[in-house]
């Protein structure tokens, strides 16, 4: 139980607070519209459907405010930077921004559904009241129209009653149907449009579509601009009406049984109604401004010049770019977004930085993985020697959990497949820090696990490990870095090859002193070994790899952690793009 609190406590707390605010808003506004005396007459027409529409509206206001914030990467980086003092657990929560964004989106979808259904009922009942189907009180209330001469204000927004289809010389005034009402009022029209935008955004964000065709998701998601524009104007029609106090006051309890006498007796002056002032803009204007600043910042970053220092084509279609940009500062394990207008104007793709912050340039290793990367590699292959590459926009760098590697005394770094890339940056940075005896480096011991199916695309990483291996030996620091390589895609040809070269000092696959393991690691043994070698330490486990592995490691961290400060504690950090 204690282990669970250590690893998931803060996250659960934030969720409970968020849900609590949602519930509070829902109940508060439900009661406000249900019990408020100014809505007594509105209730006569609509029943509790009014409250059922207004309560989700309040929750929607809150969540639409929240939804833009988790996707402001630069804002999150700023918060991250300023909270360096507040410990690792708080900053870890910022990594889960996309999960929170999705959660808020689900809540918006749910509340939109409730809100829409309630308003469907409202429209239908308004029309029925106007047609006199519910008796004299609702009928009389509905008949009130805005009329300065008669000093009346409307309650029921439905204009025309059932008595005949009035045909003017040019206009046909038809009795209002719900559909006509929806499309001729601001609230109705904006409501339908933004709900449609929401549905399109949600269907194109389904995991299948997002993972396979990111562009469809990304371009469709820009419908949020229409969503927010419509949302702000949704309440402008002010058709949710409440009763105003008149002089002399209108006594609803006494007057409700005699609508025919309104305006004729002193206790019952004609009731006056006014629409509620639109509230939504107050909630969303802040985040909208912040988001606009965020996009503007990305644009400015894009305009800054990026110079190519070196372009290297590695075997297996891996491109290494060494770039220089003035004022670029990074931390180990961060990533940047690249945009190449020559390939695509609007696409920004994330790539992990593989250089250390101690170097005065930054490096990216880009593997051929899709249209954009293939085009980039082809363009740069055909480039003449020594010339600059195409214009590149760089946004970032953005923080990830890997920045925290140096804060832990002991670190377990697990890189699976392409996920090994951030660790290139980290290992290089560690090497530099060690050479400079940097006091910021609290790490005493690193365990590095490299899992991949085949080492083809990662010869450059094996080279890095070779260099580190040599350096560590020269300084007599062999224990500092323990690395284990797991080749998960071996077959009988591999096995035969290894058997033949069994006696050699270095590994046949990588050329490293540390021999390659075959198959997947047995995590229980690994965690047990780390625990035994490092009692009473705080161990940070960092993964860059698939979800299934994340689940396994998270479970192991919880299993092998102990709340007892004399025993080892494992914290799990995952990177995700």
């Amino acid at each position: 139980m204690g282990n669970w609190i250590v690893n998931h406590g803060l996250e659960t707390f934030i969720l409970v607070v968020w849900m609590g605010i949602n519930v509070f808003l829902f109940v508060y506004f439900y009661s406000f519209y249900d019990l408020g005396p100014q809505f007594f007459y509105t209730h006569q027409l609509l029943g509790s459907a009014l409250s059922w529409a207004r309560a989700p509206a309040a929750v929607l206001n809150f969540n639409c405010m929240l939804i833009l914030l988790p996707v402001c990467r630069n804002l999150l980086s700023l918060i991250r930077g300023n909270f360096m003092c507040c410990g690792v657990a708080l900053r870890k929560q910022l990594d889960k921004n996309l999960t929170f964004h999705k959660l808020v989106a689900y809540m918006i979808a749910l509340m939109t559904a409730v809100h829409t259904v309630a308003h469907l009922l409202n429209v239908e009942w308004y029309i029925n009241s106007r047609h006199g189907k519910y008796g004299p009180l609702p009928g009389n209330l509905s008949a009130l129209r805005d009329n300065r001469a008669k000093n009346t204000t409307y309650l029921n927004p439905i204009e025309y009653d059932y008595t005949g289809i009035a045909i003017d010389s040019f206009n046909v005034l038809a009795p209002q149907t719900p559909t006509l009402f929806a499309f001729t009022t601001i609230a109705g029209l904006t409501g339908v449009v933004i709900t449609l935008a929401l549905i399109l955004m949600i269907t194109s964000s389904m995991e299948v579509i997002r993972r396979s065709y990111f562009e469809v998701f990304w371009y469709t998601h820009h419908l949020f601009i229409i969503f927010f524009a419509g949302l702000v104007f949704h309440g402008a029609g002010r058709i949710v009406r409440g009763q105003q106090t008149t002089e002399p006051p209108h006594d609803t309890i006494f007057c409700k049984t005699q609508p025919q006498n309104w305006g004729l007796i002193p206790e019952c002056p004609i009731p006056q109604f006014v629409g509620g002032f639109p509230q939504t803009w107050k909630w969303v204007i802040g985040p909208m401004v912040i988001y606009i600043c965020e996009r503007f910042l990305r644009f400015i970053r894009y305009m800054q010049t990026v110079r190519y220092k070196k372009i290297v084509m590695h075997p297996s279609n891996v491109l290494e770019l060494q770039l220089v940009k003035s004022g670029f500062k990074m931390d180990a394990g961060q990533y940047v977004f690249l945009n190449c207008p020559a390939i695509s104007q609007l696409e920004w793709h994330p790539f992990t930085l593989t250089s250390a912050p101690e170097e005065d340039f930054f490096t990216l290793h880009i593997r051929s993985a899709g249209d954009w990367t293939n085009q980039l590699i082809k363009m740069l292959e055909n480039l003449p020697e020594g010339s600059q590459g195409p214009k590149m926009g760089v946004d970032g760098p953005f923080g990830t959990a890997s920045e925290d590697v140096f804060d832990y005394e002991v670190s377990m770094l697990v890189g699976a497949g392409i996920g090994v890339t951030p660790f290139a940056s980290i290992l290089k940075s560690i090497w530099y820090k060690f050479k400079d005896s940097n006091p910021k480096l609290r790490t005493r011991k690193i365990y590095f696990y490299w899992l991949c199916r085949e080492t083809n695309a990662f010869e450059w990483f094996a080279d890095l490990l070779q260099v580190l291996e040599k350096e560590m030996e020269e300084r007599g620091m062999r224990d500092f870095l323990t690395y284990k390589l797991y080749l998960t895609g071996w077959d009988h040809t591999h096995a035969a090859h290894v058997m033949v070269h069994f006696d050699k000092d270095t590994d046949v696959i990588t050329g490293l002193k540390q021999k390659t393991h075959y198959g997947r690691p047995i995590w229980d043994k690994e965690f047990e070994q780390v625990r035994q070698e490092n009692p009473s330490s705080v161990v940070g486990t960092f993964l860059c790899g698939p979800e299934s592995l994340a689940k396994v490691l998270a479970k192991k961290c919880v299993k092998y952690s102990d709340v007892d400060p004399r025993k080892t504690k494992f914290y799990f950090n995952k990177e995700n793009f």
Binding site: L120, I127, P178, T195, L196, D371
Partner: protein, 184 residues
Amino acid sequence: MGKIEWAMWANEQALAAGFIYLTGGIVGVAGQFSGWKFAAFGIAAGVFVCLLEYPRSKRIKGTNFERTGQYCFTVCVKAFGPLTRNYYVRAFLHAVLCIPGGFMLATVLGCVCLGIASLIYLSAAIHGEHWEPILPEAEPTKHVSQSIKQPPQNPPPRPPADMRRKRLDDLEAAAYVNPIPVRE
């Protein structure tokens, strides 16, 4: 934009549209709205669209992610042959089904969503896509490599018998190194 199978998005959109059509229909019927007959149609059409769209198609390339329990639906949908395979038919069908929804506010959202799904299916059909059922593949028989079938004919190589016999007089010469190290 990369090569996209439009049908995948059309499928998600149509399934969502089916649910929305269904929900709108239920509200219309339960609330006894005027025009409830359109709502009743909406319920039927919504259910039909959901059943038709639930099984995902097999992708041209890439991993298939089946929806939970979609196998029985796959079998039903497959039984209609070219009617369900062809996306022109589906686009037309969705367009026709969505029209009655436009006559009533409760179902108008379902109508528009289904209409959009119909357009995306049309795009998919123009790009030459069609619906393929995801069926479980038969397990390929394990390929037994040649050497295992024949047990070895000869015993493993050993030094000649007289060398193997224990030679107590000359222990030094009798020793030989095992070619493969013996583990304790």
